[in-house]
């Protein structure tokens, strides 16, 4: 896996998380108080920076074989979870992720909450909403950076890719002051799910002692095969009947409907 592949994989995965965090910060700022929402955002970024600074060197010190087994396994389980939800959305068995609707819901909830001044923060609700949203989405970014970066022994490049994704998405969100509903988020989640599953399978097997035919070139076969498998399952599930709204993988939006039996994320 070369540097550009690492960059693209981390950039795409982190862009998806950044879109979700941006929606929450925009809702907190628009409905409540921009200064408090920004304070929450910066506080969460500071906490995340401390986590990366603390865990980054520690993870890098672990022997590569053991690291690939544990991190590859974690990445595979995480990737399969992501891909599973993407397939359920694409086949109509789960409501599609709709940033515009999430933004409206957050605005409504924020408008009803009482305003309180705590510890010098003008609007505690806007601060905590922004802080929690950025911290939770940011933890996923940290996880992706550490897993991809440590496996390739290039945490700095993975960090740059993640930072680039966050900056691009945040700048776009700040410019339009609206949820990034036009980003094909559901399609991106599908692609990222395939990549996480592919890399997780590769690294997990390698960490467990397997030798891949063609070494790193095996990824060029593995990732497309997983994409084909996922697309095949989508077709099979679509033909077996739909439960919720009809997703539109091309537009990345789709008509929101009742959320299925599982969580929205």
């Amino acid at each position: 896996m070369n540097g550009s592949a690492l960059f693209v994989a981390v950039f795409l995965a982190c862009a998806v998380e950044a879109v979700e965090a941006t929606t929450i910060v925009l809702a907190a700022g628009t409905a409540r108080d921009w200064r408090s929402a920004t304070s929450g955002l910066l506080s969460a970024v500071a906490v995340l920076a401390i986590i990366v600074a603390a865990l980054g060197p520690a993870v890098s010190a672990v022997p590569l074989q053991g690291l690939r087994l544990v991190v590859g396994g974690l990445l595979l389980v995480f990737g399969l979870q992501w891909l599973r939800k993407a397939i359920l959305r694409a086949s109509g068995h789960k409501a599609v992720h709709d940033e515009a609707r999430i933004f409206r819901d957050q605005i409504e909830a924020a408008a009803e909450a009482p305003s309180r001044r705590i510890a010098g923060v003008a609007d505690w609700y806007a601060f905590t909403l922004s802080f929690k949203g950025v911290l939770l989405e940011g933890l996923e970014v940290v996880f992706i950076v550490l897993t991809f970066g440590s496996n390739q022994h290039d945490i700095p490049l993975a960090t740059i890719a993640a930072a680039a994704a966050v900056v691009v998405v945040a700048a776009t969100g700040a410019a339009v002051r609206a949820p990034l509903a036009r980003v094909p988020e559901n399609t991106l989640k599908f692609v990222v799910g395939v990549m996480l599953t592919g890399f997780g399978t590769f690294w997990g097997a390698e960490g467990a002692g397997a030798d891949w035919p063609g070494s790193d070139a095996a990824l060029l076969v593995l990732v497309p095969l997983i994409a084909l498998l996922a697309a095949g399952i989508v077709v099979a599930l679509r033909s077996s009947g739909r439960r919720v709204g009809i997703p539109d993988m091309v537009r990345g939006g789709g008509r929101p409907a009742t959320v299925g039996e599982e969580g929205q994320r």
């Binding site: 396994g73 595979l76 389980v77 979870q81 997990g204 467990a208 002692g209 997983i226 498998l229 599930l237």
Partner: protein, 81 residues
């Protein structure tokens, strides 16, 4: 003291629940199958036999089965009565 311990326990449970939901998610069987497949890969690779195919095979089996269960569960809840 008791209140502090209860709060600590509650915090630990929330922390563990967050990471469980974050990593394992909706179907714990997927995680269990992957751990088992990694163990089999390790055992087979120790014998000198090629073991690279075990993980792709596990993914190709676990993913459709898990999704089929989820879709079937959704449809059965749709049925009246």
């Amino acid at each position: 003291m008791r209140a502090v311990l209860r709060a600590l326990w509650s915090g630990l449970r929330r922390f563990a629940a967050f990471w469980y939901d974050f990593i394992v998610g909706d179907d714990w069987r997927v995680a269990a199958a992957i751990v088992a497949a990694l163990a089999v890969t390790y055992a087979v690779s120790r014998t000198g036999i090629a073991s690279w195919w075990i993980m792709p095979l596990a993914v190709a089996t676990v993913l459709p089965v898990s999704l089929w269960r989820a879709a079937r569960g959704a449809r059965s809840r749709d049925r009246p009565g």
